[in-house]
């Protein structure tokens, strides 16, 4: 096995350990709260016999380690328990709502890089001029403003006042959703060759994804600027200048690449924030993702659904981080070559 592959396998095992830890933590919190989960689930009008039956069915009458063991055994079969709020398996609920959330997070991650990096590059090239100062002020504001505030402001300006983007939803009501292949409307409509649906779904995606990405754009541009400024001081850039290469070529071919590594690393960490903030943005734009479900199950004290949702979100975060690590290896020749040479 190449060292690169071995590192990947180690990462996967470590991630699995983290996820087991997450399940234990959530399970512990869910079980130490005051009150009887079965009684809460059934409401005050249920008879004692009904409560007892539910307790037995959910293994709530057994000691907590046994309950956890039962939970893990079910989990190994891909079973996250049943939601008391929707009366369906949590797995089915999550599978229904998760793709919309992931599409939003993915689009926001893309915007972070595609807007934040060029902004940082420009800021570094015009260092000390008004554009640079404006960019830096913008990045502080981006980081300091919660995603829901960006959401309501973008919605007010671009949807209500100017009407250039739709106010809410994922598709115009008249359009049928594309056949579910990946669950990402944009990708599904490309796969089924439906350009009208594609345009409409992208049109709906712009504002929520931008609101979600704003903090990350600020962070990314700040970081890109800092590492570009550092890289510009290095001898190999001086050499490129001495050869008389054009400024734009130096920026794009030589200075940017080393600057991308810290940016991608931050992107990996930021995915946690994106997944969390997606809850806020979804609620502003009526986006049919996990947010509405998450808030409802929380308000209904639907324990299995809460634990299941958190577990899935954590798994998405861990997997996304592995994907980002692979990307870093592609961008950073030192890491990639270390793997290939062996």
């Amino acid at each position: 096995m190449s060292p690169f592959l071995r590192a990947l396998v180690n990462r996967l095992i470590a991630s699995l350990v983290v996820l087991v830890g997450v399940s234990m933590l959530m399970f512990a919190i869910a079980r130490i709260i005051p009150g009887d989960p079965a009684r809460i689930a059934l409401g005050p009008n249920a008879t004692e016999a009904q409560v007892q039956a539910l307790r037995r069915e959910r293994h709530l009458d057994q000691p907590i380690p046994m309950q956890y063991w039962e939970y893990v055994r079910e989990l190994a079969h891909g079973n996250l328990g049943n939601s008391l709020y929707s009366n369906r398996p949590v797995r089915v609920d999550v599978a229904q709502y998760l793709p919309a959330t992931l599409e939003l997070v993915f689009a926001a991650g893309l915007m972070m890089v595609l807007i934040g990096v060029p902004a940082g590059v420009l800021s570094a090239r015009y260092r000390g001029r008004w554009g640079d100062h404006l960019g830096r002020l913008g990045s502080v504001m981006g980081v300091s403003t919660p995603a829901f505030v960006w959401g309501v402001i973008l919605q007010l300006v671009f949807a209500y006042l100017w009407g250039v983007f739709p106010i809410e939803g994922r598709l115009t009501a008249a359009l049928p959703p594309p056949p579910p292949i990946t669950g990402f409307f944009a990708i599904d409509s490309i796969l089924s060759g439906d350009m009208r649906t594609l345009a409409d779904s992208l049109h709906h995606l712009v504002l929520p994804a931008l609101a979600l990405a704003m903090a990350g754009i600020g962070q990314t541009s700040r970081l890109t600027r800092a590492s570009m400024v550092e890289t510009y001081g290095k001898p190999f850039i001086e050499m490129a200048h001495a050869y008389g290469f054009r400024e734009s070529r130096i920026a794009a071919r030589y200075a940017l690449r080393p600057a991308l590594v810290p940016v991608l690393t931050i992107l990996g960490l930021d995915i946690a924030a994106l997944l969390g903030n997606a809850f806020l943005v979804e609620s502003v734009f009526g986006w049919p993702g996990l947010s509405h479900y998450g808030v409802e199950v929380i308000l209904h004290k639907d324990l299995d659904a809460i634990v299941g949702t958190v577990l899935i979100v954590a798994a998405a975060f861990v997997l996304a981080n592995i994907a980002v690590d692979l990307l870093v290896a592609v961008v950073n020749p030192r890491i990639r070559l270390a793997g290939e040479r062996a």
Binding site: V17, V18, L19, G21, V22, M24, L25, M26, I29, A30, I33, V140, M141, V143, S144, T145, P146, A147, F148, V149, V152, I153, Q155, L156, Y160, L161, A272, A273, L275, G276, N277, F279, L280, S283, V284, S291, G294, V295, V297, I298, L299, K301, L303, I306, V307, T309, V310, V313, A314, F317, V318
Partner: protein, 282 residues
């Protein structure tokens, strides 16, 4: 703190316009929180009852930022909301930071088994998006400002544990620690009298920036209805309430949103300024 208080650091701090702006914003917010009763134009509007003759009034001379759907002065409610926000941030950090720092110090100093355990436990906390973890903890309880505070505290300590751990690992190699060990100083003495003072500038910088971020998370939770409940004035729930009257009563959303921006940005700029000043002094 001694390192921060010496003059080159302060000179660097005052020379940075961003840092001074941050200090000004923080001072403004702190004054609002401390003297809300005296500053707010209509202190009685902080409760459930407003001026029924002026419901959803536009910003005017009488109501500088307008009134909400039951005629309460928005400026008054924002000023009182700052009090709740700062209270929450101070309580959360006063509990989470010391707990995290003590755990981090111990793990950094005591050796590999401890540090391994700490890293795995904090990995678990950091793998759950902060907002989602805080939301789910509130979910097991009842939504309220107190439970929100408890939830945010529970998810915040690992960051301080990580920071103190890394700082301790670096300081452990320094000569003064070795000297203290050689003369037989006790572990608590080495940790709290020798290592901790040298980590304080970094920890205090993080605390400053985090005041803003705790307020940000708390307002996010109350925006979703999982934080402070009506009629307590709260920035997040004010934005959520206002969003229902968009776009006609835009002031109900825009001004509380700006209020959040002001406080978070203030602490952010102030923290950055302190860090740069501390670096300049080295």
């Amino acid at each position: 703190m001694t390192r921060l208080a010496c003059s080159p650091a302060w000179r660097a701090f005052w020379r940075s316009p961003a840092a001074v702006a941050g200090l000004a914003l923080v001072a403004l917010v702190a004054a609002c929180a401390l003297f809300a009763e005296f500053i707010a134009p209509y202190p009685s509007h902080a409760g459930p009852i407003g001026d029924f003759a002026a419901m959803s009034a536009r910003p005017s001379g009488q109501y500088p930022l307008g009134t909400d759907s039951i005629g309460r002065d928005l400026l008054t409610r924002i000023i009182f909301a700052y009090r709740l926000s700062l209270e929450m941030a101070v309580v959360v950090l006063a509990i989470a930071a010391p707990i995290g720092v003590v755990i981090g110090l111990l793990a950094g100093y005591l050796g590999p088994a401890w540090s391994y355990a700490l890293m795995r436990v904090t990995d678990v906390f950091l793998a759950i998006p902060p907002l989602v973890l805080a939301m789910s903890i509130t979910g097991f309880l009842e939504p309220s400002a107190i439970h929100g505070m408890m939830a945010i505290t529970m998810m915040w300590w690992p960051w301080y544990a990580r920071l103190a751990y890394n700082l301790t690992r670096a300081e452990k190699q320094e000569g003064y620690v070795l000297a203290a060990e050689t003369v037989g100083a006790s572990v608590p003495h080495i940790l709290f009298r020798e290592i901790l003072p040298n980590c304080m500038p970094s920890i205090l910088t993080k605390v400053t920036i985090d005041v803003g971020f705790v307020i940000l998370i708390a307002s996010s939770m109350s925006f979703l209805g999982l934080g402070a409940q009506a009629p307590t004035p709260d920035l997040g729930s004010m934005v959520a309430d206002g969003a229902r009257y968009m776009p006609d009563a835009w002031w109900l959303t825009v001004f509380p949103a700006l209020a959040i921006l002001i406080v978070v940005m203030g602490f952010n700029l102030l923290g950055d300024g302190l860090r740069e000043a501390a670096d300049a002094a080295r």
